[in-house]
């Protein structure tokens, strides 16, 4: 038993930290720390900078240009990125599609797509969910019918994150309606420039645009865009979903939020001549979530250590997902409460790049209610917490 990092890990942390200090542009760090959206170019530039060190694709083997990080290195890298305010690169090409192509793609697909993901030539988005499918992903209805050397795709996908920036989409489509719903699904790559594809924004509860719906109207897709075998897509999709997600608990981000929250609570007048951090009710909630997070961080490290030793995290990911989302949501609740009445203003224009609008109340205060509402998604997306509990009940408890 040893709860400290190894010398090698500490050296790696130092290397990452100094790289970030040297290379991360301050305007990106500021916006990321404030929780504001970035431009596509910001992501791409940062991706190119990281790839100089081959630090972009953590789920890929080194021979394909991946980082080859160990689980602890991934964790340390993520912690340092969050701490410095480096943007989280969208996972769709790098962490989702890439591993699927490496595992199941043809040599031509590997040769064509992987380098373009790494250098940012292609921005990918995900076409899994449909309006009717929700937690029951296998019930998807988008159809691909073979017609010569093309598929003709019709249907609708939704919750397509950052689809507005994307060039390509990887989709689960139904190629057969025989047998169980899972058996007739295929994994298809679609160029978003193809005629018949339409992307429409979904505005989320707090007023932001991060997700989209995608409509397919007789979209012609060449058969060589099929990954693996026809009707085997469910296997690839599960592979993708089960793919180890070091950061699923969001510990690094939560620690940064906690720091910010403590700073706000220290700076905020309680209205009665004291500081909010000395208000017993507020301080109790703060202490409880801080303790939960301390425990969560170690729980996360325990799972990582098991992964490092070659164990495959199964239901543990579900545990991390549930508790991690609860803690991050509680933090977002405390953030909005901390600023009191100044949580009320809704000022999206203020957050646009180059805005010279004046804020109401302390800097950033107007953001926290929006973030609180937006963070409700943590317990919904990627398999709701209810689905995660079903999984744990079955896998760990055998109920």
């Amino acid at each position: 038993m040893r709860l400290e990092y190894s010398e090698e890990d500490l050296a790696f942390r130092a290397e990452v930290r100094s790289f970030l200090e040297a290379r991360l542009p301050s305007h990106i760090a500021e916006r990321t720390k404030a929780g504001l959206a970035l431009e596509k170019e910001d992501y791409l530039n940062w991706q190119r900078t990281l790839q100089e060190k081959q630090w972009v694709a953590h789920a890929w083997p080194k021979e394909f240009g991946g980082s080859g990080f160990t689980p602890f290195q991934k964790h340390i890298f993520e912690e340092e990125c969050v701490r410095a305010g480096a943007p989280e690169l969208p996972p769709f090409g790098l962490s989702m599609l890439g591993p699927v192509i490496i595992a199941f793609g043809s040599d031509e697909q590997k040769a064509h797509y992987l380098p373009r993901i790494l250098d940012g030539t292609d921005w990918w988005c995900q076409g899994y969910s449909e309006p009717g499918s929700g937690s029951d992903l296998a019930s998807l209805k988008t159809k691909a019918v073979r017609d010569g050397d093309h598929y003709i795709v019709n249907g609708q996908k939704t919750w397509t994150t950052l689809g507005q920036y994307a060039d390509w989409i990887f989709c689960l489509v139904r190629t057969s309606s025989e047998g169980k719903p899972q058996t007739g699904i295929s994994f298809l790559l679609i160029d978003l420039d193809t005629p018949g594809v339409e992307m429409r924004p979904i505005i989320t509860i707090e007023g932001g645009h991060e997700v989209n719906e995608v409509f397919f109207d007789n979209v012609k897709v060449p058969v060589e865009n099929l990954v693996g075998q026809e009707n085997m897509g469910w296997t690839y999709a599960k592979y993708l979903l089960q793919h180890e997600r070091v950061g699923i608990a969001g510990v690094a981000a939560a620690k940064e939020t906690l720091k910010k929250l403590k700073k706000i609570a220290s700076d905020t007048d309680d209205g009665e001549g004291g500081r909010l951090i000395d208000d017993a009710h507020f301080a109790e909630r703060l202490a409880n979530v801080e303790i939960d997070l301390m425990a969560m961080e170690l729980t996360n490290l325990r799972v990582l250590a098991a992964a490092q030793a070659g164990g495959a995290p199964g239901a543990e990911s579900s545990m991390l997902k549930i508790k991690g989302s609860v803690i991050r949501q509680e933090l977002s609740d405390l953030m909005r409460r901390a600023v009191g009445p100044y949580a009320l203003p809704f000022m999206p224009e203020l957050d646009q790049l180059g805005s010279n609008m004046e804020p109401v109340g302390p800097e950033g205060a107007h953001l926290y209610a929006g973030q609180y509402f937006n963070r409700r998604k943590y317990s919904i997306y990627g398999g709701s917490n209810e689905i995660q509990r079903n999984i744990i009940s079955k896998m760990i408890l055998g109920l």
Partner: protein, 367 residues
């Protein structure tokens, strides 16, 4: 003991309920909250015409009641459709103050126009940095000049006249200031729950004797009553919004299918909706109790109990309803998302759960 509404209250409730169903639909609200004005003048005019301002004012000034239950009945129905028209600011806060028995000067004469919907009001009281402390007033009136800053003035960008609190020496004064008076700077903005508010700064604004509505102990007492009425109205609005959220969630559980069955067949969701229902019944009880105590000596203890419980349950109902809706629950296009935002943001007006829990503790220990 009798918990049935009187015939008058039943009629009032039905009338408001019908009106908001017909005139305050969600599609219109979506457009309004993205408009500059933020609400619909025509709808407000109709609301006034239906007597919704009068309903919360005493007969002495041409009103129709003004009891706690009057406020509760109207506000609950408005809350049910999260109506954005300035009922709270103009009727409950502003007109309520103008209708005070001790009110003097030009204020009371404005009431007819306010009741008719032709003149809108706002109370400029809380100050920057005061958080929820209503006792902190640093704005001053000296030599007929008002100076100071007011924060998060509900409807502050839209009101024709502001009722402003300030100190004349040690004495609290409530004075009327026209929105376009010299020295008034209004910075208007929207709130997350779709309402309008403003930061207002007064710099040597002329206040004539005729502008002074109330002063001294009378002003303190009137302000206390106004804040109590507004707190009650917000609690009742929250109750209406909770019932909207509950009904929408129940409907969703009945109709949304997953894995081949309506999701309402899943016991976990059933039990969570049951708990939501239980807590809403508790909120109805505490709001009724607070309404009945609006003119009693232990008014503030009961209002703090209500606001604290509304804050706690409001968050629970909002979060559970959104969660049970899944992804669709976090989209701008869904009424429930806006209901949830109103439920949560109500905690940020006139003192949050913590503030009112503490006030309740103090008042309950003293009792």
């Amino acid at each position: 003991m009798d918990f049935n509404l009187s015939d008058d209250h039943r009629m009032l409730k039905d009338m408001v309920s019908r009106f908001v169903r017909e005139q305050c639909d969600f599609e219109s609200r979506l457009k309004l909250i993205s408009s500059e004005k933020g609400h619909d003048e025509a709808v407000w005019a109709q609301m006034a015409e239906l007597g919704l301002v009068a309903a919360v004012l005493p007969e002495r000034v041409g009103g129709l009641g003004g009891s706690g239950l009057d406020i509760m009945v109207v506000a609950e129905e408005l809350g049910r459709k999260i109506v954005v028209e300035p009922f709270l600011a103009t009727a409950v806060l502003g007109a309520g103050l103008l209708a005070e028995e001790g009110a003097e000067g030009r204020g009371p004469a404005l009431l007819d126009d306010v009741i008719g919907g032709g003149h809108k009001l706002a109370l400029a009281h809380y100050e920057p940095g005061a958080r929820y402390n209503a006792a902190k007033v640093d704005a001053t009136i000296a030599g007929g000049k008002l100076s100071g800053s007011k924060s998060l003035v509900i409807n502050g960008g839209d009101a024709d006249t502001l009722v402003v609190s300030a100190k004349d020496g040690d004495k609290l004064v409530l004075a009327l200031v026209a929105k376009d008076a010299e020295g008034v700077a209004i910075k208007a903005f929207k709130t997350h729950d779709g309402f309008g508010a403003a930061e207002v700064t007064f710099t040597d604004v002329a206040v004539a004797a005729d502008d002074v509505l109330l002063s001294g102990d009378a002003a303190e007492a009137a302000l206390g009553r106004a804040l109590a009425r507004a707190t009650l109205a917000l609690c009742a609005e929250s109750l209406g919004a909770m019932e909207n959220a509950r009904d929408a969630t129940l409907e969703y559980l009945r109709t949304r299918t997953q894995f081949g069955v309506p999701i309402g067949k899943f016991q976990v969701l059933q039990h969570r909706l049951v708990d939501v229902c239980l807590e809403i019944e508790q909120v109805r009880s505490i709001v009724l109790l607070a309404a009945s105590k609006l003119d009693a000596g232990d008014r503030d203890k009961h209002l703090s109990a209500a606001k604290a419980l509304v804050g706690r349950v409001g968050r629970m109902v909002a979060e559970e309803a959104v969660q049970m809706h899944g992804g669709i629950g976090v989209t701008w296009e869904l009424e429930l998302a806006h209901v949830a935002k109103r439920l949560v943001m109500i905690d940020h007006y006139f003192g949050d759960t913590d503030y009112h829990l503490k006030r309740f503790q103090k008042l309950s220990k003293a009792a």
